[in-house]
Symmetry: D2
Subunit: 425 residues, 4 copies
């Protein structure tokens, strides 16, 4: 096994190593992929046991990336015991109980299936895959693995914003009544003409653009909160506004893919064709009658990370905007008319999902805490406990994948696309 | 002429009547229709000369409605010199220069055409008509009238919210650059299952539901602000959530159509079928490349009158929400990244459109002032002057009507509908 | 009587004059003062009978100002039957039932007392006076007049924002429980160093600066909403940041006092001393235990007309910001903790004070409607009816005046000032 | 040394221990106090090296608390190598470079002075102390220690919210010009009558109530952002609304002091007297002419953790509300009047202080990140580098302490209190 002993610059204990017996009680994690999501997941595995009381606290066994030096540094920084440049190492690593697949979308299928076949639980980054065919292969593998007690998870992290999870609960308790409308937009603005031809604009690596990246989240959130399923896509627009972008070096690409993306000034080497969508909009119908609109874009100037969903029901409505992620807007239509108003609930109370685990009320949490809560929930489930709110598995994520695919077909074929056309095996 | 001498309870002058010569300088107005829009327009004609310096201040000559007693009371209250129960009276009334058609949509064509043929200017309530065929007949009449110096206007009042007019100017000055996105929603919530079968839910009287009422405004605002035209509707949903509603008496209907609509408790006489849409959503493409979404609904619980539009351009973005109508949200993308933010501009300054005409800065105005500003602009134009921002005429309103029609065809025929299919005569 | 026949450019009726008997039923109004408040009051008297069903609709009898030509134009524009340049004319005018005193503060006492002695009802602009001594003289006159059925009113217009009136009702119904905190700030920013030495910066004409102009409103609102009285001022700061300002001509001053104030570029004639406060802050105690802070300033850059009050009680809290005057923020502390939130109530419903009188729900109103509602309430009361919420009379306004005085004493004498030191006659 | 080997349930490395040489490069930390602040600081020391590139990454050597079992569990959870029940152990521990004093205020002086005398750097929780006399003793010790290269820090964590740090920079760059107003309120609502007599309501343990807890933050933020010093307190109110509270067991108190404070239902054992303030308000003057108001309270129902500051300058203004801590409201008064507005800047960009260290733009951070950033800055400074924005030392914190004291004297003695009366040694 090609491992690297990390030279740590991270916070460390200078005491004796944790004994094997202690370690055994934990949940051994391997991470594949060390970019943005690799960071977010590492942070989550590393913190969750500090905020949640877990029977199987995660052990950060091995992190795997392509570049030896970078991966070693990454492992050291985030507390992974070993670094590896061959992801297949994790298949035979007995200390690993779960593999976290945080690589680009087109690699999800191969890696996840191999891990499941090796008897490892898998937590795969969203969307499930870059093609519907791959996604279905993953589900078949998940079904086979499930029979052996092996579980799958998908990192739809926004379910674990307290406000989103609370919206889910309100719907489940019947507080919204019959649902009429779902209105979902995920707006970003980093994809202007000045942004170079990063891998995210190349379909062979990224699968899709804003659609797979952002609409995947919206579809999952809409399904999660409503508890309902989309049955038809009714019209869609797929658009690539910026058709040519400046070509840059791989190093610049890597840098730009990190958190320093924005504002990076890069030397151009001519221009190349962007082969992904900049924006996808579509309309849809839910099984129980709600009608919905979805929009994902990287060119909504002024909206840096505006992941918004509003749901209107007969008895009440909820609204969420990730840029103010600690807040849920709630409208109680059963109140006397003169006392009705959009109520800004700070979802940081002990009574809110995940609310009691972090800091006192209104001592707000951030983006990373959705991942921490998901890592805690996965650990809890694999320790025989329950998650705070439902976790999406591959089977569940396939439903989201079908809607993504239906939207693209609708946009390209100019017709309504029923989901039943896509979800058969 | 069937006129009623109103018993006034309105503010009056107890001096001698204004001399004929003075009156002659003004602009003689006749109003047809005395319900919600009749009130709003009466207020506008009555106030505009107090806030704007007008060469031809409006004279409120005659108000026409169906019920003699009600119309007389209405005329007295709002300062109309005479009341009439026959709208055709206005055709031969020499003191009338302009007829304000504020009746239900299906009456617009007949009335407007008759008035134009009689040589009267016409200011017609939006949407232009309830059918595309009628709308085209109105345009033909307007074209013929125009040759004789007779003008047409349509009451798209939201253009005259200072914030909307200011957005129009910003785009015109190039401050947004190339436009990528238009996102427009007009959300109301008074159409729940408890609301009875008012005339607004009956297609023979109302033409359409939320679509003609609310999407008409959105389409006009989108065209006005961007200065661009929609060329294709790409998918649409037309939905009637509440298919049966309680039947009520005509009196109740009349009452409910007034400002007391909300919360009216009404005795039921069984139920009848609602024949209009509760909600219409559609996607569209603009000529210069922007992509757009539109949504109108009466069942978005929690949104009483949320007329919103957001436009994202390469250099900047604007956002408007009528519920905070004095404010325009403005994003200047040309600023240094660390100083960029959504900026809440109170559009009440002397430098804003209509800003200097009412009260000092941040002494906010309301819904009615859009009408007042439009009445002032119409009076200015007919007095040989200029409007503060462009006024829509029948020709212009037909473009909006074509988009309304395209959306319905798209929803019913499940296909993309290009506007060129509809705008031919 | 020096009257001018106005050359009207205002909306007019071209019918016969209203008969004397009709006129007699109304409420004859005389206005003294034709600047900013004169405009706002004229608009209010002229509109109130269109939105409220009044037994004694106002008749706009005579407007009085100093400049003959300007006053005549003003009267014509706002629908006053006559113009006068001698305010004492109104004392003997039998058609006048009520005199509206809209002049600068130092003139309130002389005019109001004369009118009361002549048997006219008086509606005086706030603050009651520029000195406590004058204010007490006015109260004595009001007491004497009251015995003869003559009434007094003070234009504390913000009480009649629907949101403020609704807050008053919530407190009255016990919805806030014991009140702990009152936090009131009225922030403006037009008083920067570029603003010249207008009359508003000269204490002999203006009485005080931000204090009398803005803190007067805050104190009245705090008293009105809580139903409680301030008993002590505990520390205060009175500050004139800009000690010298450019001297300008009287014409410029007049212009600048109008709604065109902001941004006026004016030719300087050297500089003079500003003799009023730019800002006054003070702390206070209420009779029933609440503690409070007040701040008025003209130099809070970024705050154009931010009249805010927040009140925290044991069972709930309310928050109001005039710049979003249609909204009341309401916190219901009796709800389950996880459902608590600041609720944005659009106070435009039929169930809200004044809500049913204007436009449908969420068709927002503006600054001027507070005056219209007050004119309606005064007319209602003088017609034998009731006001929607309590109207302040001179007796009531004196309580506000005492607090203003106590704050100034506290600031200048560096001590706590109990109100009982000031309110004796 | 009474140490406990923690039974870890935290994320761990199952590799060999970090070598001594590696450890030596780091910064050895000891923590005294394991309650709310102990948790927040532990998290900060543990995470900072993952987000910042540090020459001396913290090593978590020992955590000290009073209860052996609890402290051992705490140490295990947060990654401290050892646990101790005797805080004096840290004085002789060579691996410890810095002692983090996170105990109640009345213990700060004794502990900090002992640590400084032992040659340890000290990072003390705010406020500096519970008495001015103690605070001065701490400063004297800090001065003596400084000569030996030993440094002091105080945990005024809000300075390190990116938005607050950015406001500091804007002022420093002259973007606000002359400052007129500082308006600071820290509003909480957990101190209602239902809350029992926790130690926080007992002056012998807590020193003061809302004043030391919350006003300390406001004063520090005001000084930090403006770069100016308060020279006089002009009036103050100190109030204990709830004079008697239910007595509870020590265990309940401990529980209630944790993050589960809110909503804790506790068995009463009769009632006792609350001996701290519930709220303190005061007015103040800054050296360079700004005037200011401060308010801290635990009874502002509806405000869970509303730490707000607004600063108005001649050229611009800033506004911060911790409940939306990623945002700074910025008003640029140098813009053309019609483009001015309050601009909501998401301070998460690479160009903002701390912005580039966490997640991509608008992937918001939370309460804990202020502590993480402060831990990173302390580590950077002790590693020979620079902090991102200035760190407060004891000398600096004494200035805040003097203002706290002046406010109390002003409230009790009913007079203006100049700071020069208090800051002498």
């Amino acid at each position: 096994m090609t491992t690297q002993k990390p030279k740590s610059n991270s916070p460390t204990r200078d005491a004796a190593p944790i004994s094997a017996s202690t370690a055994k009680e934990g949940l051994g994690i391997a991470l594949i992929g060390t970019k943005f999501m690799g960071r977010a997941h590492s942070n989550a595995w590393g913190k969750c046991a500090q905020f949640f009381d877990l029977k199987r606290p995660p052990r950060l066994v091995v992190a795997s990336g392509r570049n030896a030096q970078e991966t070693a540094a990454f492992a050291a920084q985030w507390g992974w015991s070993r670094a590896s440049t061959n992801w297949r190492d994790v298949l035979n690593e007995s200390a690993v109980d779960l593999v976290d697949v945080s690589t680009p979308n087109h690699l999800h299928a191969e890696m996840s299936i191999a891990c499941l076949e090796a008897g490892k639980h898998v937590a795969c980054e969203k969307p499930l895959s870059s093609t519907l065919a791959d996604a279905k292969r993953m589900v078949l593998a998940a079904r086979a693995a499930k029979k052996k007690g092996v579980q799958t998870f998908v990192w739809f992290n926004y379910r674990r914003c307290s406000a989103v999870a609370f919206a889910h609960r309100l719907v489940k308790e019947g507080k919204l009544g019959r649902i009429f409308h779902v209105r979902a937009t995920y707006l970003q603005d980093w994809g202007g003409p000045e942004t170079p031809l990063l891998w995210r604009f190349q379909s062979d690596q990224a699968g899709s653009g804003a659609h797979g990246d952002l609409n995947a989240h919206l579809i999952d959130m809409a399904r999660f909160i409503t508890g309902d399923e989309i049955i038809e896509v009714v019209g869609a627009i797929e658009e690539t506004f910026i058709k040519e972008r400046a070509i840059v070096s791989a190093a610049t690409d890597a840098l730009a893919s990190s958190s320093k993306l924005k504002g990076a000034k890069v030397p151009s080497k001519g221009s190349g064709k962007s082969t992904v969508d900049d924006a996808v909009l579509f309309l849809a119908r839910f099984k129980h009658g709600a009608i919905a609109s979805f929009e994902a874009t990287r060119l909504a100037t002024g909206n840096q990370n505006r992941n918004c969903i509003e749901i209107n029901g007969e008895l009440g409505s909820v609204k969420f905007n990730f840029e103010r992620m600690n807040e849920l807007q709630w409208w109680d239509h059963t109140l006397d008319a003169k006392l009705r108003g959009w109520s800004r609930i700070m979802c940081t109370d002990a009574g809110h999902p995940y609310g009691g685990h972090y800091w006192p009320a209104a001592h707000v949490v951030g983006y990373e805490h959705g991942f921490v809560s998901q890592a805690a929930d996965i650990s809890a489930v694999l320790g025989g406990g329950a998650s705070v709110v439902p976790l999406p598995d591959f089977e569940d994520a396939l439903k989201t994948q079908c809607v993504l695919e239906a939207a693209i077909r609708s946009a390209r074929e100019h017709r309504n696309v029923p989901i039943r056309e896509l979800d058969k095996f």
